[in-house]
Amino acid sequence: MNEPIFEANDLSRSFTVGSSPFRDLANHFLHDRQPTVLRAVDNVSITLAEGETLGVVGESGCGKSTLARLIAGILPVSSGERRFRGEAYESLLARKRDALKIQMVFQDPLSSLNPRLRVGEIVGEAAVLHGVVPRAKVKDYVVEILARVGLPADSVGRYPHQFSGGQRQRVGIARALAVKPQMLICDEAVAALDVSVQAQIINLLMDIKRDSGLAMIFISHDLGVIRHLCDRVAVMYLGRVVELAKTSELFASPTHPYTRMLLEGMPKISMQRRKFMPIQGEIPSPLNPPAGCHFHPRCPIATDHCREIRPELREIKPGHMHACLNIEAR
């Protein structure tokens, strides 16, 4: 594999729930109960090669959206390091022009666009402010970017609410492209769209990737979309990566029990009514995850030491890693 464009080592991010300066002060003196700590992202290490698309899949509360924001550099880490082309984020983010190389596309096509700004300003604002394009030429530039995402030139003067969901998502993509990024993070970018529109946006993202060689991190709960778009997939469960493999390999021979369960639960278009496996158990609250392997209460093959030992992500086959104590390479 060639030099990675992005690298994360032992990335963690915790949130303190129900904390405020005064309450902290009171707790300090009164020895009140400790505020609850939510470990949204827990020691995650991933790399992304040039031109690669990495999928991150997981259910709600698994920390995939927090991971997206850590990688985008809009949320500080609690511990661990992030590197873009070998440079640590701390120095990269100080130089705004270079930090623009990492961009993000968001889930909600409506709330991700400022309702009070016209599309022309939404797309062109940052490009002008950071000197990507001179102010005098910004209008032509925006029209050109809009054309790339399949929007007509007269969109410039319109407001987000005048567009359909799919068109809004195109505006969101145009906004990211306008500052010439090298890495694009898509956080559930097609989750809120109808099937036919979803296909249009997925195709658009694939076109952009093919034309510009962007590296992409694609975050989704939808295994079908991930399978279609990504080269490699990381499966997350309660803040941790439990399996990481090439897409084809992961879908053909998943090794981690959670991944298997996820794939079994994935609805498929089939002619006959499915015999549903009654999968047992709820996703535990991320506020109070089980000790040891987070998955052990739902795992069919859990043993006693799963309750105590945290499994580390390890390579079981070349390029295929998982975090399970009980399953070895087959």
Partner: protein, 403 residues
Amino acid sequence: MNIADFQDFARRFAESRSAVISLAVSVLFIVCAVFAPLLAPTDPYDLTQLQLSDALKPTGSKRMLPGEEVRANIRVDGGTASVQPASPTPTRLSIVASPCGPNCLAVGVEPPDAKLASLQVRNLPAGATVEGGRKHPIQPWWTLDNPDSNQARITSAGPLPAGLTLLAIAKSLEQETGFVFRLGTDNFGRDMLSAILYGIRISVYVGLVAAGAAMVLGTALGLLAAWRGGVADAVIMRAVDFMLGLPALLVGLAILAILGNGVSKVVLAVVIVQWSYYARTARSFAISELGKEYVEAARCLRLSPVRIMLRHVLPNCMPQIIVLFTLNIAAAISMESSLSFLGVGLPLTRPSLGMLIASGYEFIFSQKYWISIYPGIVLLVMIVAMNLLGDRLRDLNNPRLDR
């Protein structure tokens, strides 16, 4: 907001008739405030125009010219009579005298149609009488009461002695003028209509300036709290809680008790009370906006925090803040009036609506209702109109109440 959006907004606004009326009333009040000096028949701030005889006059009464007393010495010399005015101050009436026959002298007033209470001639020689007059029991003074002709005819048996000097004293009745006190007068004889118009001017000024200044200050602090979070947020919001915990009027009273009265001090008091509402509203809406993805997108585009707050977050909080502004204008007006009513707001010489209500308060049980009632109605209408306007704007802002 483009033109089509504005038209749509206006159409939705107009669906509520009470809101349209409120808007019209509010505009009317602002016009009154701006053009008060042109609209008001008198200048209530000009103390020299006041006359105590006009005090506490009911609605529709006319301004009265008070009656006056004119004195003149009349020197009779043979067939002629010369008049020398003897009043200490200039008078509207003057006394004239002319012979009316060999043994006759007519004493009258100019103008002849003036209504007189009495006309008295003193120092008549023995034997001379005034026709239809009544003689003083002791003195040689003859008096005509309510004379119809405004003329005293002095007749005597023989010719009047040469060198005789008579003293004529004419007392006129009160006289109506054309000036009508449409809403009556207060206890200083001030025209209530003018006082109310100038009072509206003060109320609107205090309302707009105070609520506006509070909006700028409070919104800035609210945005700061939302953006910085942590200690700054905690300190600002505890200050807000503290301010909201105190009764507004009490705070205003305390501030004015320390600073003394005056328009700028009332404005300051209102700002100190009201900034907390804006801070709380701006913070809560800014926090909800900051949680939206477009703000994350702006961060990802590495825009500066100041730009994100002012260009992206603030415009999206503005509708709520403007609603609060409308409602707070009414609150500021009401607070100014309350403070003035309590006697700490504005000086006596610059009556606001609240003070007019207060000054009429002591007469209201002696049936002199107009001093309190008219400013009270105006204040009520103004505050209700502003509140209805604010409510309508708030409803239009709430998409759940609108289809």
